[in-house]
C-alpha cells in the first residue's frame, strides 16, 4: 500500500515536470539553441529545393543589360528573414550586369531598400541612375502595380531622391512591364499574390518571389500553375539561393540556428504530449480505482 502511494507521488511529480516546464527555462534553452550555432557553426548541409533553383534560373536566364523590377515589400520586423534574400538577389543581378528598378509598397520599406541597394551596388561598382534606380514608396499598392503596367514614369513622377523619372536614363529605356523581362518581390505579406494577380494576370509579367516561411506555404498553387516562375521560402530559401550563387551569407549562417530552434520546439511539444498522455492515464486509473 505504501509502495503504491510512493509510486503515485513519483508519477505525479513526473507529470508535473513534463507538463509545467517554467517558461523562463524554455526561453533560456531557445536563446542558447539560437546563439550557440551562430558562434560555433555545425555546417549542416543545405540542398537547394526545386523552387529555389527555379528562382535562381529565372535570373540566370537574363542577358546582361536586361532590366528587372525589385520590390522590397517588407518592413524591419521581418528583415532578419528577408534581407538575406534581397541582398543575394541584388548581388546576383549586379554580378550579371542586370539593371534594377527598385521600389517598395510599404512606408517602412525605403530604409531597407536603400541599405541593401547601396551595399550591393558598392560591392559591384554600380551607379544610381544608369545601373539602378530607387523609386521609393508610392501610396496604394494595387493602383501602383496596375499603373506601372501603363507607365512607370507616370506612376512615379520622381524617384526617392526627388529626381524627375523622365530624366533618369534607365527609365527612359524601361517604362512599363513590356520592357522588363522579370519582376522580383520580396515580401512578408500577401503582396506576392497581388503582384501575380495584377502584374502577372493583366500584363503577363514574369514574376519570382521571396517570402517568409509562413507566407511561402500560401503561394504553392501559383508556382504549380506557372503563374510564379520560382520562389524562396523563409531563411532556408535564402540559404538555398546563396548556395546556388556560391555566395554564402546570413542565410546559410542562420540555418544551424534555425535547425536547432526547430528541433527544440519539436522536443518541447513531444515532452508536453508525453506528460499529457501520462496525465490522462493517471486520471483514468484514478477513476477506475
Amino acid at each position: 500500500m505504501a509502495d503504491e502511494g510512493h509510486s503515485h507521488r513519483r508519477s505525479g511529480r513526473l507529470i508535473e515536470l513534463l507538463t509545467n516546464v517554467d517558461r523562463r527555462i524554455i526561453f533560456l534553452v531557445i536563446a542558447l539553441a539560437v546563439a550557440l550555432p551562430l558562434l560555433f557553426p555545425l555546417n549542416l548541409p543545405v540542398r537547394p529545393s526545386r523552387e529555389a533553383t527555379a528562382y535562381f534560373e529565372a535570373l540566370e536566364a537574363l542577358d546582361p543589360g536586361d532590366v528587372i523590377i525589385f520590390s522590397f515589400d517588407y518592413e524591419p520586423d521581418t528583415m532578419a528573414e528577408l534581407d538575406p534574400m534581397s541582398l543575394a538577389t541584388l548581388r546576383h543581378a549586379f554580378r550579371k550586369d542586370l539593371r534594377v528598378i527598385a521600389l517598395t509598397n510599404y512606408p517602412g520599406g525605403p530604409g531597407i531598400a536603400l541599405r541593401n541597394l547601396e551595399q550591393a551596388a558598392t560591392e559591384y561598382g554600380k551607379q544610381p541612375g544608369t545601373d539602378y534606380v530607387f523609386l521609393g514608396y508610392n501610396p496604394d499598392y494595387s493602383a501602383t502595380m496596375l499603373r506601372m503596367g501603363e507607365s512607370i514614369q507616370a506612376t512615379f513622377p520622381t524617384d526617392h531622391s526627388q529626381t524627375p523619372t523622365a530624366e533618369i536614363p534607365l527609365l527612359q529605356e524601361a517604362n512599363s512591364y513590356a520592357d522588363i523581362p522579370l519582376l522580383v518581390t520580396v515580401t512578408a505579406s500577401a503582396l506576392a499574390e497581388y503582384w501575380i494577380i495584377w502584374a502577372g494576370g493583366k500584363y503577363g509579367q514574369k514574376i519570382i518571389t521571396g517570402n517568409t516561411a509562413i507566407q511561402a506555404v500560401l503561394i504553392y498553387p501559383y508556382y504549380q500553375t506557372g503563374q510564379l516562375a520560382g520562389f524562396l521560402g523563409g531563411l532556408k530559401g535564402a540559404a538555398e539561393y546563396e548556395k546556388l550563387l556560391e555566395l554564402p551569407g546570413t542565410g546559410i549562417l542562420g540555418m544551424d540556428a534555425q535547425s536547432m530552434a526547430h528541433l527544440l520546439i519539436v522536443l518541447f511539444i513531444l515532452l508536453g504530449n508525453v506528460g499529457f498522455f501520462l496525465q490522462r492515464r493517471a486520471a483514468r486509473n484514478g477513476g477506475a480505482n
Binding site: 526561453f27 539560437v34 518592413e75 494595387s142 507616370a154 504549380q224 530552434a261 526547430h262 528541433l263 518541447f268
Partner: protein, 213 residues
C-alpha cells in the same frame, strides 16, 4: 440623391474598370489611368488622415493626463522628429536615416524575434494530441517544422536507391494536401469576391454608403 449619386458613380466606375480589361480602346484606357491616379491620391490622403488622427488621439491623452500618457509623449515626439528630420535634411541621409537604421529597425526586428520564444512556449503548452484530428495536425506540423530546415534532410530512411527524409515528406505535404486545401480556399474566396463586386456594381450591396443605406 445622397444615396443614388454614389450608387450611380459606383456603377459607372465599376463597369469602366470591367470593360477596360477586355478592350484596347484609347479613350477607355485613358479613363482607366485617371481612375488609378485618383485612387493613389485618395490613398495618400488617408495616410494624412491617419497621421492627424494618431496625433490627436495621443494629444488628448497627454492633455488629460490619462494612464500611460508618457508613452504618448514619446509617440508624438518620435512622429514629429521623423517628419521634421525628413523635411529639413533628407530621408536618405542624416538624422532620419540614422533613426531608422539604429532605432526603428532594431526595435521592430527585436519585437518580431521575440515571437520565437513565445511560439516555443505556447506550442509546448497548447499543442496536444487530444484526438485524431489534433494528432494529424501535430504530426504534419512536426514533419514540416523539421523538414523545412537542413536537419530534416539528415533524418530519414533509405529504401533501395531512394532516400526518404523528413524533407521529402514535408515537400509532399506542401505539394499535395496543403496545395489542394489552399486552392479550394482560393476558389471560394475568388467566387465570393466576384459575387460581392457584382452586387456593389449593380447597387444591391450598399454597406459602403454607411448605416441605413
Amino acid at each position: 440623391m445622397k444615396k443614388t449619386g454614389p450608387v450611380i458613380l459606383g456603377f459607372l466606375v465599376g463597369i469602366l474598370m470591367l470593360v477596360q480589361y477586355f478592350t484596347p480602346n484609347a479613350w477607355i484606357e485613358a479613363r482607366y489611368n485617371n481612375v488609378l491616379d485618383w485612387k493613389q491620391v485618395v490613398f495618400g490622403m488617408t495616410l494624412i488622415l491617419g497621421v492627424v488622427s494618431l496625433f490627436l488621439y495621443h494629444w488628448r491623452k497627454i492633455s488629460r493626463r490619462q494612464s500611460g500618457w508618457g508613452y504618448s509623449v514619446v509617440t508624438i515626439g518620435g512622429l514629429l522628429f521623423m517628419i521634421f528630420a525628413a523635411l529639413i535634411w533628407s530621408p536618405e541621409a542624416g538624422p532620419y536615416r540614422w533613426m531608422f537604421d539604429y532605432v526603428q529597425a532594431p526595435m521592430q526586428a527585436t519585437m518580431f524575434a521575440l515571437l520565437a520564444f513565445y511560439v516555443a512556449s505556447a506550442s509546448y503548452r497548447a499543442f496536444r494530441a487530444r484526438g485524431f484530428h489534433a494528432a494529424l495536425l501535430l504530426t504534419a506540423g512536426v514533419i514540416v517544422m523539421l523538414g523545412r530546415v537542413p536537419l530534416g534532410e539528415l533524418i530519414g530512411v533509405r529504401i533501395g536507391e531512394t532516400h526518404i527524409s523528413l524533407a521529402t515528406i514535408s515537400s509532399w505535404i506542401l505539394d499535395y494536401p496543403n496545395l489542394a486545401a489552399k486552392r479550394g480556399v482560393m476558389i471560394g474566396v475568388g467566387l465570393g469576391m466576384t459575387a460581392t463586386a457584382i452586387k456593389i456594381i449593380v447597387g444591391i450591396e450598399r454597406t459602403y454608403l454607411g448605416r441605413g443605406a
